[in-house]
């Protein structure tokens, strides 16, 4: 289940609730949704020993009965450990009543010896202290240049975070907007705006739908462009693996984000 996203889990829970035949309440409105809310939620790729969610039911059910029925109805890998009723004082939708304050993490690093891991943690701790002294907070993503591919986050948000970290000021005079489309999924569409001083990366299509330059490729190729300074060649353009409507602005993009030199 650690490979399931939060949305995957939410869908599985909705179906589990229906399979279990629990009298779930629905939100009012045009497209009613089952009233299920979550506290936190582990990131994709991270296993979790306990997740918390709240169900709004339309009738009284015994907690043990809800637990057994829901547990039987969910896919293997999601077990219902405990169910308790919210008291009337805890108004519905207040999961924070549970006071989740901290979580324990276990990080498994295959192929890394305990000594190497300890050294690395010590290095990061030192950098974190230095950062705090200087009034900032250590950005682990940026600090750890040696991250091995095996532990690297390949999600688009992290790729775009890396992209914006590479921004170099003073490369353009006016504001230039880029629309980066990496697939049909809404989550695969990003907007990047740069001017002389700063860059702004936002998920989704550009406001108004238009950008100065449209860049269309696969997430894999884009990741290579950002991380490995891969320069799309004629073959990529001809095969349609990489498309753009403005090659000059594309070169500007490479310059602004220093993508012509390997990091």
């Amino acid at each position: 289940m650690r490979f399931a996203s939060h949305r995957d889990i939410a869908r599985a829970v909705e179906r589990g609730v229906r399979r279990a035949g629990l009298p779930i309440a629905y939100s009012a409105g045009f497209s009613p949704h089952p009233r299920i809310s979550y506290a936190g939620g582990a990131q994709t790729g991270i296993a979790s020993e306990a997740e918390y969610l709240e169900l709004a039911l339309t009738g009284q059910c015994a907690s043990s009965d809800v637990r057994d029925r829901l547990d039987a109805a969910l896919p293997s890998g999601i077990d219902v450990i405990e169910v308790f009723e919210m008291t009337s004082g805890q108004s519905a939708g207040r999961l924070d009543a549970l006071r989740l304050e901290a979580s324990d993490w276990e990080v498994v690093l295959p192929g890394v010896t305990p000594a190497d891991a300890a050294r690395e943690v010590a290095r990061l701790a030192r950098e974190a202290v230095i950062a705090l002294r200087d009034g900032s907070v250590l950005d682990l993503g940026a600090a750890d240049r040696e991250t091995s591919p095996a532990t690297r986050d390949d999600s688009l948000p992290s790729v775009f975070a890396e992209l914006s970290a590479k921004f170099r000021a003073g490369e353009v005079e006016r504001t230039v907007s880029y629309y980066v489309s990496l697939g049909n999924d809404d989550l695969a569409k990003w907007t990047v705006r740069v001017d002389a001083a700063r860059c702004e990366v936002t998920p989704g299509k550009p406001a108004g739908g238009a950008a100065d330059c449209v860049l269309k490729t696969s997430p894999e190729l884009f990741t290579r462009i950002v991380r490995e300074a891969y320069v799309p060649g004629p073959a990529d353009f001809l095969s349609g693996a990489f498309k753009s409507n403005d090659v000059a602005l594309l070169m500007t993009f490479q310059r602004v984000f220093q993508l012509d030199e390997p990091s």
Partner: protein, 687 residues
């Protein structure tokens, strides 16, 4: 000998790939059996991504049919995306099933379901990753039997070198026959080796073994003859037809994915086959005759399927769902039964008439009325007569006016470009139709914010249809017509924003045309394209026309034929077509007469539906020993005794409708009517 799971080798790769959840299995209703307690083991491959393959009805049905058998094990496998493929090659991880992560190469049978020809290259990837030799002739006793089925396997000749056997038609009974013959052969100590088994399959007369046939060619490239090359092999192989859908109520408990997939609903096939006689439609020709599932079985399947899956939407599938003889009773019955439970009902593949609107209204009741889809397919009455789509422009305008008047806001219209005899005018006329639709809709609804979307793609002539002889329109002409249509649609500012335009360019259709009507020589093109990196041809980000054009030119050079020869060339009556020895039941002369009727310069002749008019002698019923099975039965959706005496033993036996008390103020069931006609995709049954 138990077979080890490859999950320990796969797991470290999963954090490195996109959407890893699709590879982990463990879904509700998936089945894992003990390897050593079974003797016939099937791996079922859908040669596309998990998100497309999981909802496929054909695989879902066969998975249950096989796993219900004692001693039989069936697991699912899907195409892995290129990111995982590269890692699997690097680390030596073989193609695996998602159920128990067993290596596909260890199974007895690899069953492949083709809904579209664009899955052919993915078969080669799966075979290669499974370490199964891609050529049938190079496989040894230890390799799985590679068996294909599904609509796109009705002309398996381009894949002949890669397949051991092919099933035409409905798969439910066929997989059991194959299972029986494999078991018999294994129990007897594998007499005759691999060929011994294949011979027993071929001897049934309804399982095609390509390598038991030789193909000769004329000097001009046309086929001379296709002949069996050993005794005991029939000259012609016929399709399977399942004659009692009520006796096969599958899927009963479909696998519920954790990953997001293209259809998130419980689908029940309300009938199989279609006799409307649309001349372009391969599905309608190869699935004859019409066999309805009874209203009572449909009611039971929906009730059980929802309880077992937890899905929130029901899809009533078929090639033209409004044609079920008791569709009114089914729609009203389901709408009543699930009122207040937030269960959506959808009816894909509907036709253009007023009845359809009444039905859509019934399914949506108090829910939102967003969009309706119709498929007039052609822009003028003339071209619609050519394709035997008997809808006039007046029918269409009346139907959409009624839809808009009933509160529907958006109408989607499906068309094809490049149909036989089509002129520029036939395509440009679509713009005029769309503008009339908006005008009529504004008048009928009294609102200006209504919309109409025109969706259009290139037509591909398919085997076993009257258009199997047609010249496919070249992609330049298709693209020119689509561009002209786009300009015409935008020309009048009075309609500008009210009309949407979506199209597929003409080039992928040419490759689909090559694979659809190709012969055994096309195998070389598929292999070359695959070696050059062809994968996931149905996905525009992976498809490369230039690759296919180049590989076709190189691979076919020695044969004196080329891409155009296979696609844009019209065939004559006397030419042996690559699939002539494969019998879908259709009388060849009937198809030819229908083709001539379509292209008659004096105007096309129409053919009625044989459910309501006398038989037109397409040949299927006598050839296959079948008959039309259609109601009305007069029965009820749920038998009264069952409805009254429902006392659940355990929660999951109880229909969702009975349990989820309607919350005050919540609106009852919503409806959506997505999708247009089922074109090339199978609605199930085929292996």
């Amino acid at each position: 000998m138990p077979v080890e799971s490859v999950f320990p080798q796969l797991e470290p790769l999963l954090p490195l790939v996109r959407k890893p959840v699709q590879y982990v299995g463990g879904e509700v209703n998936s089945t894992v059996k003990v390897w050593d307690e079974t003797d016939v083991r099937w791996a079922l491959l859908y040669p596309d991504a998990y998100e497309v393959g999981l909802p496929n009805q054909g695989i879902a049905i066969l998975y249950e049919v096989l796993n219900e058998q004692p001693g039989v094990l069936a697991e699912r496998t899907y195409s892995v995306w290129p990111d995982l493929e590269a890692l699997m090659r690097e680390r030596g991880v073989p193609q695996f099933t998602v159920d128990a992560h067993r290596p596909v190469g260890d199974f007895d049978v690899l069953g492949v379901s083709f809904s579209t020809e664009l899955g052919y290259s993915n078969l080669l990837t799966a075979l290669d990753l499974a370490k199964i030799p891609i050529f049938s002739s190079e496989r040894s006793l230890g390799s799985p039997l590679v068996v294909a089925g599904g609509h796109a396997a009705f002309n398996p000749e381009p894949l002949a070198d890669f397949l051991d056997a092919v099933v035409l038609g409905d798969g439910e009974e066929a997989v059991l026959i194959i299972t029986h013959l494999i078991r018999q052969w294994k129990d007897a100590g594998q007499p005759g080796g691999r060929d011994g088994l294949l011979l027993s399959l071929a001897a049934t007369g309804s399982i095609y073994v390509p390598r038991f046939y030789d193909v000769s060619y004329h000097a001009d490239g046309r086929i001379g003859a296709v002949t069996p090359n050993r005794p005991g092999v029939p000259a012609s192989v016929s399709k399977h037809t399942l004659m009692d859908l009520d006796a096969w109520p599958y899927p009963k408990a479909p696998v519920v994915p954790v990953a997001e997939t293209v259809h998130e609903r419980f689908s029940v096939e309300i009938f199989r086959g279609c006799t409307r006689g649309c001349r372009f439609c391969q599905a309608g020709m190869i699935t004859r005759p019409v066999r309805e599932r009874s209203i009572t079985t449909i009611g039971e399947m929906v009730s059980k399927g929802l309880a077992e899956s937890g899905f929130q939407e029901v899809g009533l599938l078929s090639l033209s769902s409004a044609d079920h003889s008791e569709i009114n009773e089914i729609a009203a019955g389901l709408a009543n039964q699930y009122e207040g439970t937030n269960t959506g009902l959808s009816l894909p593949s509907t036709r253009v008439d007023a009845f359809n609107i009444t039905l859509a209204n019934e399914l949506s009741r108090n829910g939102r009325r967003s969009g309706l889809t119709f498929a007039p397919e052609g822009g003028t009455d003339r071209i619609r007569k050519v394709i035997n789509k008997m809808v006039t422009e007046e029918d269409l305008i009346q139907t959409v006016s009624m839809a808009y008047a009933n509160g529907w806001r958006q109408v989607k219209l499906y068309f094809m470009c490049g149909l036989p005899t089509e002129t520029d005018e036939d395509v440009l006329a679509i713009a005029r139709v769309a503008q009339r639709v908006i005008k009529a809709g504004r008048a009928a609804s009294g609102r200006r914010d209504i919309r109409c979307t025109v969706s259009i793609g290139g037509f591909v002539p398919k085997p076993h249809t009257p258009f199997q002889w047609a010249a496919q329109c070249d992609h330049q002409t298709v693209d020119d017509r689509l561009r002209a249509l786009g300009r015409a649609l935008r020309a009048d500012p009075a309609y500008g924003k009210a009309i949407g335009f979506r199209y597929h360019d003409g080039r992928p259709s040419i490759v689909e045309g090559l694979l659809s009507r190709g012969d055994r020589r096309v195998a070389k093109v598929i292999r070359a394209a695959w070696q050059d990196g062809a994968r996931f041809e149905g996905w525009s980000e992976h498809f490369s026309y230039d690759r296919w054009e180049r590989c076709a030119a190189e691979a076919l050079a020695a044969d004196g034929v080329d891409l155009a020869w296979y696609t844009t060339r019209e065939r004559g009556y006397g030419e042996v077509l690559p699939w002539d020895h494969l019998d879908a039941g259709l009388d060849r002369d009937w198809l030819w007469q229908d083709w001539l009727a379509a292209i008659d310069p004096a105007g096309a002749d129409e053919v009625e539906d044989c459910r309501w008019t006398p038989c037109f002698e397409c040949g299927v019923c006598p050839a296959m020993g079948t008959e039309i099975q259609a109601g009305p039965t007069g029965a009820k959706l749920l038998p009264l005794a069952v409805a009254a005496g429902r006392a659940p033993a355990r929660p999951s036996d109880t229909p969702v409708a009975q349990q989820a008390a309607a919350p005050a103020g919540a609106s009852p069931g919503h409806v959506s009517l997505p999708g247009g006609p089922v074109r090339h995709a199978g609605t199930g049954g085929g292996a």
